[in-house]
Assembly symmetry: C2
Homo-oligomer: 348 residues x 2
Amino acid sequence: MTQLTYKDSGVDIDAGNESVRLIKNFVRSTYREEVLGDIGGFGGLFALKDYDEPILVSGTDGVGTKLKIAFMLNKHDTIGQDAVAMCVNDILVQGAEPLFFLDYLAVGKLNPAQVAEIVRGVANACKESGCALIGGETAEMSGFYAEGEYDIAGFAVGVVEKKSLITPARVKVGDILIGLPSSGLHSNGFSLVRKIVFERMGFKGDEKISELDKTIGEELLTPTKLYPKICLPIIKKFGDKIHGLIHVTGGGFYDNIPRALPENFGATIDADTWSVPKIFKLLQSWGNVPRREMFRTFNCGIGMILIVDEEALPDIDAHLNENFEEFYKIGRVVEGSGVEILGGDFSD
Amino acid sequence: MTQLTYKDSGVDIDAGNESVRLIKNFVRSTYREEVLGDIGGFGGLFALKDYDEPILVSGTDGVGTKLKIAFMLNKHDTIGQDAVAMCVNDILVQGAEPLFFLDYLAVGKLNPAQVAEIVRGVANACKESGCALIGGETAEMSGFYAEGEYDIAGFAVGVVEKKSLITPARVKVGDILIGLPSSGLHSNGFSLVRKIVFERMGFKGDEKISELDKTIGEELLTPTKLYPKICLPIIKKFGDKIHGLIHVTGGGFYDNIPRALPENFGATIDADTWSVPKIFKLLQSWGNVPRREMFRTFNCGIGMILIVDEEALPDIDAHLNENFEEFYKIGRVVEGSGVEILGGDFSD
């Protein structure tokens, strides 16, 4: 009877070792001084510095079906940034500095070069966010994902002093909402995007879209913006004048803004205060997507919102200008509940 | 033109909310006093207690293609324990107490009852391990996973005082290896298992195997053992007499034992000191799996190994006996490198 080995079943430990060899240097390049040990330990080790009352803030997220765009274009060096961004942008909103990150990557067939491309993207985004990539799992799951396909999930841990933790309790009626631009669709709503773009419109991934001046694939695969470098200095400089941050992630404006507000507080947004990027207008028009659904599914050009004390507005305004950050005063906190969005006409 | 909504694209936000409603109480039941906030925040919040030099130890893992067995049996309440165990057993080996856990669950179609079954398993295993389930992501990825199928990944963070961190530096030649029984296959080697059991042998999941006195599906789906409750008291009680722990995870004896040893140290194992459970003998015989491959792929009945100071052996022995823990003195640390395994005859 023929002998069966693990490799015969489609799991290639040697390919796994080759992947580790290829990613080692990317991974090490993200290390902060607090990282102990090296790749290959059972757990990732991180020596927490001295805090009075450290609150650990953690988040996990994936990239969703944006992955299908990466498969379609056979381009795998940006999806890692998406995984990192979706997690670090979440923990940032509570005032936490990202400390470390771990990734879970499940592949149909382990292709070391592809894994290295993906993890290089993860590592670069970790560096850009100031956090160390201290662990990860690459699982070869034969018969589970198609060859060349994969899923990725990220896990981020950050820290904030208890007294600096940003909670809804800080928010006051009259606070100003400052919107920071997104880089595009980020990593939400891609099931709808794919239905509109590929099913209804029948586009190919490499089809040039004249209104966008690029291919539809390039537009859709634009990596999610990393906000730590912009927002951490603001949180540090303005302290308790920053009453909240809102990551405009899955659920869009309608679901995410209330997460940062106390009960019985709402917000009004004037969507004419920024220029909704073309891709959102195209999606709305191609899919005849109801206006409310647009703001419930997509960031519509605003990826992160700061809730700030009105008194501090001139100084925050000056700081953002000095640092050449684009921003818009998009709305206010009001009494009552819910989010009201005016303007942002999508039939332009 | 017909309007398209997010729901039309196969993502059902209402089903998502229903899932959250169903799992809320399981999740809350895991909370430790350090958990701040509640479900629905952007990040999970955990107030770290006072440590002198806290080392955070983190790990991520999935369940691999053991998931296919859960799909086959349509039984989803055990796979959560696998995800938790694979992570907490990893961080335990460095002496860390698991503090909190997050899960990533990607489904083809969101079935709230199924999600609740899975997360109930996660929550129960978190409680059993003493860690709080403080975050998670349930992603509906239509067109990615088949209906009823899913992938799960876990992420655990623990803490240990720097002076209590278990590293290979503690290990001495002559140290004794104590093996703690596994509950079965745990969550490794399932691609090979499935090839042997379902392809070569042609078994159905509900086929009764007389040697096992249960169905093959029941045997294969047995959840991975959680070791924190057994090992943390030993680590605490015996301190630096515990020179190492080894989670016998992917890579089996040959790859995992060296991870806990200094360079130029090896180990000899006498596999006749314990009784290799029947499932491993059956797999070896059904698949004609080379003996070395068995110990490289499977735990062969030993899921966790303690490396202990020989002088402390009588006391550790007494402690394990007092607590009715099964254990075996399976080997020793030796000079030289590599792992030598004697006995464990697989042709019985």
